[in-house]
C-alpha cells in the first residue's frame, strides 16, 4: 500500500526566515504521526502547505502515491484531508449547524446535514446540540464541532494542530479515544504538538522539526521524553535553579473575597476569590482557558477596580479601589497574557512602551512632560539585562518576535523591582531558551523577596515554577496547597470543575 502522504524536499521561505528547509517524511495509512517541534520550528507552516493555505516554494507532496498540488483548503478537503485548527475557525454568533454547514463544500440541505451530524456524533461519542450558538459552548465542546466538521468529509488524513492546549487532562483522554478509533478505521492522523508525554501515549511515529529543518523521525515509544526534548530544542536542557529549602516571609499580598462583575457577553467573572502570597513565594494558578483568568489578572492589576478597599491588600494596606497607576506606586506590577495590544503597544517604540508602565516608579515624568532620555536609558537596560534581541530602544514593539517581546515586557516589570508581581501565561508561545530565562528571572525575583502570582494554562510550567498552587474554574479558586501535594489527576479534576471530591480529600 502506498503512503497516505509523502512530503519530499518541502521548502518555504518567508522574509528573513526559512520556515521549512527541505522537509521530507511520510505518513502511512492508519498511522498516528506526531509532528513535534518548538514554537517557530515550522510545524504550522508545514501543515498549512499540506492543507493548501500556503504554497511551498519547492518540493513535492504525494497523496496515496500520486504527486499533487493543493491550491487551497477546498482542494485539500476534496482529496480527503481534514484539519482541526489550534485556534478554532468558528463563528461565535452562529449555531453549531451553521458552523458545520460553512465548513462543507457541497451544498447539503440542512435537514440532511443535521441527520449526518447526529450520526457522526453518536458514532464517536462527540455529543452536542446542533442548534446551540457557539458562543455558549465550552472550549472542549467547540473543539468537538471542529472534529465533527472534519469527520463529515470522511477524511483519509486528519491534521490536529495542538489540540490539547485548551483541554483538561480528562478531555484529553476522551480525545485520544476518538483519535485511536479513527486510526483503527484506517484514517491517518498528523498530530502536531510539543507535549512529549502525549506523543508518547498516542503516536506511532514522530517527526521532529527544529528551526525549519527535519531533525529526526523516530518511534516515540522507544524514546524518553528527555531525549525527544533534546532533539527538539537542540542543546541540553537547562533546569531552573531554585535554592533548596528556602523559607517564606510574612504574608505580602492578601486577596480577600475578591469578585468582579460580568462585563462582556461571554466573559467569566471572578467569583469570591481569596488567597495569600508570602514574600519569596511563587503562587501558581492553574486552569483551562476562559475560566476567569483574564478577569482575575485585570482585578489584580487594577484595570478592574474592586468596590471593597480591603479585597486586595499589600502589607496590610488596602489597594482594592486603586487604579493601575496607584497600585504600581504601591509596588504591584502585572503582566497580562496578551502581549501585543495589552502588555505593549505594537506601533510604539520600546522606549515609549517603557513609559506605559514604568513612568511613575522610575521618574520618567516631570511636570507633565515625559523625560524621554530616562525612558531610553531604562529601555536599554531592559534590553541588555534580559538579552532582548532588538536593534535598540527605538525599535517598535511590533517588530520583535513573540519571545523577545515577552522578555522585554517581563524585564520592564521585573527591573522596576515590584514587591508583588502578577503574570499571566509568562511563556506562552515563547521558545524554550527564552522560557527558561523568564522562569529564572521569576525565581530570582522571588528569592529577592517579592511575592509572585503566576497564572498559567501550562501545568508543566506551574509544577516546576510554583511553590503553592490553586486551580481556577468558572471564576472560583480552589483552596491552595503546596505544589508537591497535588497529583496531576487532582489538578485535572479541579480544572474540570470537580470540587467536592478534592475538598473532602
Amino acid at each position: 500500500m502506498p503512503n497516505r502522504l509523502e512530503l519530499s524536499g518541502i521548502t518555504k521561505q518567508f522574509p528573513g526566515v526559512l520556515a521549512n528547509d527541505h522537509v521530507s517524511f511520510a505518513v502511512k495509512p492508519g498511522e498516528i504521526h506526531a509532528l513535534l517541534g518548538e514554537n517557530g520550528a515550522g510545524k504550522s507552516t508545514l501543515v498549512k502547505m499540506i492543507y493548501g493555505i500556503m504554497q511551498p516554494d519547492a518540493g513535492e507532496i504525494r497523496w496515496n502515491g500520486e504527486p499533487v498540488v493543493v491550491p487551497n483548503p477546498k482542494a485539500a478537503r476534496k482529496l480527503g484531508i481534514g484539519m482541526v485548527f489550534q485556534h478554532f475557525s468558528l463563528f461565535e454568533a452562529l449555531t453549531v449547524l451553521e458552523n458545520i454547514a460553512l465548513g462543507m463544500d457541497a451544498k447539503i440541505p440542512s435537514r440532511e446535514l443535521e441527520a449526518r451530524i447526529r450520526e457522526v456524533m453518536t458514532a464517536y461519542g462527540l455529543l452536542l446540540d446542533p442548534h446551540r450558538t457557539v458562543a455558549t459552548l465550552s472550549v472542549g465542546e467547540r473543539q468537538r464541532i471542529e472534529i465533527v466538521r472534519a469527520l463529515l468529509l470522511n477524511p483519509q488524513l486528519l491534521i490536529m494542530d495542538e489540540p490539547t492546549s485548551v483541554l483538561t487532562p480528562q478531555e484529553v483522554e476522551q480525545l485520544f479515544t476518538v483519535l485511536r478509533k479513527l486510526a483503527a478505521e484506517g484514517c491517518s492522523i498528523l498530530y502536531i504538538s510539543h507535549k512529549l508525554h502525549e506523543i508518547k501515549a498516542l503516536c506511532d511515529t514522530a517527526t521532529i522539526l527544529r528551526g525549519g529543518k527535519l531533525v529526526d523521525t523516530c518511534d516515540p515509544k522507544l524514546e524518553t521524553s528527555r531525549s525527544m526534548a533534546e532533539k527538539m530544542i537542540g542543546t541540553g536542557l537547562k533546569d531552573i535553579v531554585k535554592a533548596e529549602g528556602r523559607g517564606f516571609g510574612p504574608p505580602k499580598l492578601l486577596v480577600n473575597r475578591l469578585s468582579t462583575s460580568r462585563t462582556g457577553h461571554f466573559d467569566v467573572p471572578v467569583d469570591d476569590v481569596s488567597f495569600t502570597v508570602r514574600t519569596g513565594e511563587i503562587f501558581g494558578i492553574a486552569g483551562v482557558a476562559g475560566n476567569g483568568q483574564n478577569a482575575l489578572l485585570d482585578a489584580l492589576s487594577g484595570e478592574i477596580r474592586s468596590e471593597d478597599r480591603d479585597a486586595i491588600t499589600i502589607d496590610g494596606k488596602g489597594i482594592g479601589m486603586m487604579g493601575t497607576t496607584e497600585r504600581r506606586r504601591h509596588g504591584l506590577c502585572a503582566v497580562p497574557e496578551e502581549r501585543n495590544g495589552h502588555a505593549a503597544v505594537g506601533d510604539f517604540t520600546l522606549s515609549d512602551n517603557s513609559v506605559l508602565t514604568a513612568r511613575d516608579r522610575l521618574g520618567m515624568v516631570v511636570m507633565g512632560l515625559i523625560n524621554s532620555g530616562a525612558a531610553k536609558t531604562y529601555t536599554g537596560k531592559v534590553i541588555a539585562d534580559f538579552a532582548v534581541k532588538a536593534l535598540g530602544p527605538a525599535s517598535t514593539a511590533g517588530s520583535l518576535s513573540g519571545g523577545n517581546l515577552q522578555k522585554y515586557i517581563m524585564g520592564r516589570e521585573i527591573l522596576q523591582k515590584p514587591s508583588v508581581l502578577v503574570v499571566s501565561q509568562p511563556t506562552w508561545g515563547v521558545d524554550a531558551g527564552a522560557a527558561a530565562a523568564i522562569h529564572q528571572a521569576l525565581v530570582d525575583l522571588a528569592a529577592a523577596g517579592s511575592a509572585i502570582v503566576v497564572i498559567s494554562q501550562d501545568l508543566d510550567e506551574l509544577r516546576t515554577l510554583s511553590d503553592t498552587l490553586a486551580v481556577i474554574n468558572m471564576g472560583r479558586l480552589s483552596p491552595a496547597r503546596p505544589v508537591r501535594d497535588f497529583s496531576v489527576d487532582e489538578i485535572g479534576l479541579l480544572m474540570g470543575g470537580v470540587h467536592g471530591t478534592v475538598e473532602a480529600a
Partner: protein, 358 residues
C-alpha cells in the same frame, strides 16, 4: 513581471512623509488627465488650482487667511483622530463657536473695549467645546458612536444659524437681508499688516500648531492620546482612562474648531450670515490626514488645502471651472494618500512570474 506586498519590520518613516507629497503630485497629474478626458482644460485647471495661488503674490494674503482656520481645526482633529475619536462634526463646532462669539459681540455692541475680543475668543472656544461635549457625553455614558452624533449636530447647527439670523439676531437696518449687524470695531480682528487682509488669526494658527506639536510629542497628555488611539487595552493597563481621553479629545478638537469659528466671524465675515458654514470643518478632516495627524504636518497640509481653495476661485474666473472641482481634487488627494498608506507598512517587492506561480 509581478509585484507582491511584503510586510516591513518597522513602519517606514520615509514613506510616512513621502506619501502625502506623492498624493499631492499624483492628484495634479491624474486630475489633469481626468479633467481633460471629460472635456475640460485639464492642464489649465491644475495650473490655476495648484500653481497660480503660489506664483501670484496678491493671492498670498488670501492663502494665509484661508489656511488659518483649516490649520486650527485640523490641529484639533489630528489630536482627536490620534486618540481614535472620530469627531467629524468640526463644522458644527466651528458654527457654534462663531455663534457664541457673535452673541458676545452683539450683546456688548456699543459698550465694548479691549476685553471684547478675548471674551469673544473665550466664548468661541467654549461654544465649540460645549457642542463637542454632546457626542462626548453620549459616547462615554451610553456608548453612542460619535461619528454619527457629531455629524447630525452639524446639520442641526446650520439650521440654528438660519433661525438666528432670520429672527432674533436679524439686523433691522439690513434691508431685509438675513444677517446680523456688522460688529463694532472692538469686536473685529485687527489686521497685522496694515493694508492687507491678513488678520490676527494667521499667527494664532501657527502658534496653536506649534504648541500642539510640543504637547503631543513631549507631554503625558500627548502620550495618553496616542496610546489610547493605538491600543486602548494597553492604555487601560498603563493607567489611562479611555473615557477621560474621549472627553479630552472631543473638548480640545471642538474648542479649537470653535476658536476658528470666532476668528472667522470676527475676521473675514465681520458679522454672522447664513453663508458662514464654509465647509472648513469638513476640509480640515483632509488637512488632518494629509498632515499625518502631526500638528507640524497640519500647517503644510492646511496651506496646500488653502491653495486649492484659492486656486479654485481663480479657475472659476479664468477658465470657468466650477468651484466644486476643488472638492473633487481634495477628495482625490485623500484617496491617493489613503492608498499610499499601505507603503508605510509594506514594501512592493518584484517577483519573477514563475516564482509567483510556484
Amino acid at each position: 513581471m509581478q509585484f507582491r506586498l511584503e510586510k516591513r519590520r518597522e513602519p517606514s518613516k520615509v514613506m510616512l512623509y513621502a506619501t502625502p507629497v506623492a498624493a499631492v503630485l499624483l492628484t495634479m497629474i491624474v486630475g489633469a488627465i481626468i479633467f481633460s478626458a471629460i472635456g475640460y482644460d485639464g492642464v489649465g485647471a491644475v495650473r490655476e488650482i495648484f500653481l497660480t495661488p503660489l506664483t501670484n503674490s496678491f493671492k498670498w494674503q488670501d492663502l494665509g487667511v484661508k489656511a488659518a482656520p483649516l490649520i486650527i481645526i485640523g490641529v484639533g482633529l489630528s489630536i482627536a483622530y490620534r486618540a481614535n475619536v472620530w469627531n467629524i462634526g468640526a463644522e458644527g463646532q466651528y458654527i457654534m463657536g462663531g455663534l457664541a462669539a457673535t452673541w458676545v459681540a452683539l450683546s456688548t455692541h456699543g459698550m465694548g473695549g479691549w476685553w471684547t475680543l478675548p471674551l469673544m475668543m473665550l466664548a468661541g472656544v467654549l461654544g465649540g467645546a460645549a457642542y463637542a461635549a454632546i457626542p462626548a457625553l453620549l459616547r462615554t455614558r451610553l456608548n453612542v458612536n460619535e461619528i454619527l452624533t457629531s455629524l447630525m449636530l452639524t446639520y442641526a447647527s446650520v439650521q440654528l444659524i438660519y433661525y438666528l439670523v432670520r429672527a432674533p439676531w436679524k439686523d433691522p437696518m439690513g434691508m431685509g437681508f438675513p444677517q446680523t449687524k456688522r460688529f463694532a470695531a472692538e469686536a473685529l480682528l485687527p489686521n497685522i499688516f496694515p493694508g492687507t487682509i491678513v488678520h490676527a488669526g494667521v499667527p494664532i494658527a501657527i502658534i496653536v500648531a506649534l504648541v500642539a506639536w510640543f504637547i503631543m510629542s513631549r507631554s503625558v497628555f500627548g502620550y495618553q492620546m496616542r496610546v489610547v488611539g493605538a491600543a486602548p487595552h494597553a492604555a487601560r493597563y498603563g493607567g489611562f482612562s479611555e473615557n477621560k481621553t474621549i472627553w479630552l479629545a472631543l473638548l480640545v478638537s471642538g474648542g479649537l474648531a470653535g476658536m476658528a469659528g470666532m476668528l472667522e466671524v470676527a475676521g473675514p465675515f465681520q458679522r454672522m450670515v447664513p453663508g458662514f458654514p464654509t465647509n472648513y470643518g469638513f476640509t480640515a478632516i483632509i488637512v488632518a490626514f494629509l498632515g499625518r495627524l502631526n500638528p507640524l504636518g497640519v500647517i503644510f497640509a492646511g496651506i496646500v488645502m488653502a491653495i486649492t481653495f484659492v486656486g479654485g476661485e481663480v479657475a472659476q474666473t479664468t477658465i470657468g471651472l466650477s468651484s466644486s472641482a476643488t472638492g473633487v481634487f481634495q477628495a482625490m488627494m485623500l484617496f491617493f494618500l489613503l492608498a499610499g498608506d499601505i507603503l508605510v507598512r509594506y514594501r512592493l517587492k518584484r517577483v519573477a512570474p514563475q516564482e509567483a506561480r510556484a
